[in-house]
Subunit: 152 residues, 2 copies
């Protein structure tokens, strides 16, 4: 296994994980504080998917922080295989959730000409934007993990 920035137990790896759970938490906070999100299946799915991303990334960020503090290298092949599967599932679910919510947001803002839910509308947009921002670091992590597994 090769040791390059972004792999588990490196500073870039920790930064990627932290940005993942921060964006996921922001997306959940923006969506869950609207009073009508539960009327939309896509928005409920977005919260579920961001919840999964938050838990997954938070656990891995803690593991990275521990490895950095103790100066350990986390390149166990079994661990990397597990991370590849988990990262890919999380990244695909996040992109699908963000896109389905974006589809509905665009429908209300653009196609129907206006959004009748007043200030909630802005929160929907913020939540979708944060979900997409959170998807960028998790897709980078997924690629790094797959590369690590293939090159190992």
């Amino acid at each position: 296994m090769k040791n390059f920035p972004g792999t588990p137990g490196t500073l870039l790896g920790l930064a990627l994980r932290m940005s993942q759970f921060i964006f996921a938490a922001g997306s959940i906070a923006a969506m869950a504080t609207t009073p009508s999100f539960f009327n939309f299946t896509a928005f409920c799915y977005l919260i579920a998917s961001m919840g999964l991303q938050f838990i997954w990334s938070f656990v891995l960020a803690s593991m990275d922080a521990y490895a950095l503090a103790r100066n350990k290298v986390l390149h166990n092949p079994v661990l990397v295989s597990l991370l590849v599967v988990g990262d890919w599932v999380t990244a695909i679910l996040s992109l699908a959730a963000a896109s389905s919510s974006a589809g509905i947001t665009v429908l209300y803002f653009h196609d129907l000409g206006h959004c009748q839910f007043r200030e909630e509308c802005q929160k929907y947009q913020i939540s979708v934007a944060l979900a997409y921002l959170g998807w960028i670091p998790i897709s980078i992590s997924s690629l790094i993990m797959l590369w690590l597994l293939a090159a190992g």
Copy 2:
């Protein structure tokens, strides 16, 4: 570079490419024959994305068929790098397009209780289902290409 099933110029590679462009063509056909798809940004985006997937996969299927007929091995590193980038971009756009259209389809069928566009509704559902089915082989191709690049 390793030679395993699914890489360019193999029978499985050709089968994957063919299923990609067949599903993309089916999805476009189902969506473009509805008279009101242009009112929905997400549905227009689905057609654009499936169009890209159709062209991309059709060109690569022709290349695979040529390589199979002439018994050539297409493992040029520059070609594989190009295929990795193209496959990933196409796969991500297809998943995003399928999910945003699925979000709107679920909104009309489930959240709003009924779909007021009569027989078009079924076509929307078929188009989204075919887009997801087309995403499966292109994501498999993407993984195989990245693996080939990393292992090469």
